[in-house]
């Protein structure tokens, strides 16, 4: 690469800056898209009773994941930066989701119904606490 090439590489074009990142206009469009997705989420919440429960939950989670990926990919520049940063971030994210999924499973938590209340977990807890009280008295 010549010195002239180097200078040209550092010039600006309208679509991307010299880091290969999107232009300001693109950032505004991305933010508007995020706002639009949030509006869809709110509409889904308002019409919650008219939508099947599972559809509503799956839809909201899907929108959440899309917003997560857009912010991470474009605003945090993971799409443009070295892959090692994406892997590093995903490592923490996957570890967190995995560990706490296991923890919630251990408590027989289910996202698709009322949670642990249907499992009798708290009945067992109450019995356990009663036993402890009986033993101490």
């Amino acid at each position: 690469m010549t010195a002239t090439d180097n200078i040209q590489d550092h010039g600006h074009d309208h679509a991307h800056d010299d880091h290969g990142h999107p232009s300001d206009r693109s950032y505004v469009m991305i933010a508007l898209l995020l706002g639009f997705l949030t509006a869809i989420e709110i509409v889904m919440f308002i019409f919650e009773d008219d939508l099947p429960g599972a559809f509503n939950k799956i839809g909201l989670i899907a929108l959440m994941i899309v917003k997560f990926i857009i912010v991470g990919g474009y605003f945090m520049h993971l799409k443009f930066d070295d892959n090692i940063l994406t892997k590093l971030f995903l490592a923490g994210l996957v570890l967190a989701v995995g560990v706490y999924w296991i923890m919630l499973s251990a408590f027989e938590f289910s996202f698709w119904n009322d949670g642990y209340e249907d499992t009798g977990f708290w009945d067992g807890q109450v019995e356990f606490e009663q036993r402890i009280e009986d033993q101490s008295s």
Binding site: A3, T4, G35, G53, N56, I84, L93, L95, V99, E117
Partner: protein, 211 residues
């Protein structure tokens, strides 16, 4: 004006992105920030899963019938939109600094801090409303989990505001030109992470109905 040779010299020891040469090709500061954000996923994972576990545990002897009774979704939606827009102003600040447009960079960073303060103000208002309805930190495990999760997020936003203001006012003498772009980028990464966490909290805690 810098000569062509000066430009080449300036980039000695740096890659095409102007980053310092390291084994990974990424500056140590940036790698450390990503490592911190990655570990912070575990903190928020613990808080979110605790909330999920206790989300139906509202029996407290009071007349509180559940989150649907106290959540003000239009208000929280506005707060969420404000935080999303603060991510836009943050990324515009970085873009300006990368163009060596110091003045715009400072203005966008101050806008970001202001939007962050609006968000925090909204959170304080929400907490005050809840307290007014008799929901204290120890009222039941739902309120404990809720205040802990959203409170920790609020602390993260507050730290982000301090980082933004610290960067804007701490560089008054040294300038905030292109050479400071990595500093602004690191503050931005933290800020966007806080935004991402709120994206999850808003959906999982506020929007997804129980049952």
């Amino acid at each position: 004006m810098a000569s062509a040779t000066a430009v080449v010299d300036e980039h000695a020891g740096h890659d095409d992105h102007g980053h310092a040469e390291t084994n990974t090709g990424i500056s140590n500061n940036k790698l450390a920030m990503w490592l911190f954000l990655s570990s912070d996923c575990l903190l928020f994972g613990a808080l979110i899963s605790s909330f999920l576990l206790y989300r139906t545990n509202i029996s407290d002897g009071t007349e509180f019938e559940g989150p649907g009774e106290v959540f003000d979704i239009p208000f929280t939606s506005l707060s969420s939109f404000i935080l999303l827009m603060s991510s836009l102003t943050m990324v515009l600040a970085l873009s300006a600094v990368n163009r060596d447009d110091e003045r715009s960079g400072r203005i966008w960073m101050l806008c970001t801090a202001f939007l962050g303060m609006l968000f925090i103000g909204g959170q304080v208002f929400e907490f005050t409303e809840f307290a007014g309805k008799g929901l204290g930190y120890t009222t039941n495990t739902w309120t404990s989990a809720f205040y802990t999760l959203t409170g920790f997020h609020g602390v993260h936003v507050s730290v982000g505001i301090l980082m933004l203001l610290g960067t804007v006012f701490g560089t008054r003498n040294s300038g905030m030109g292109k050479e400071k772009s990595e500093t602004v980028e690191l503050v931005g990464l933290y800020w966007h992470f806080v935004d991402i966490v709120w994206v999850i909290i808003f959906t999982v805690i506020y929007l997804i109905p129980i049952g």
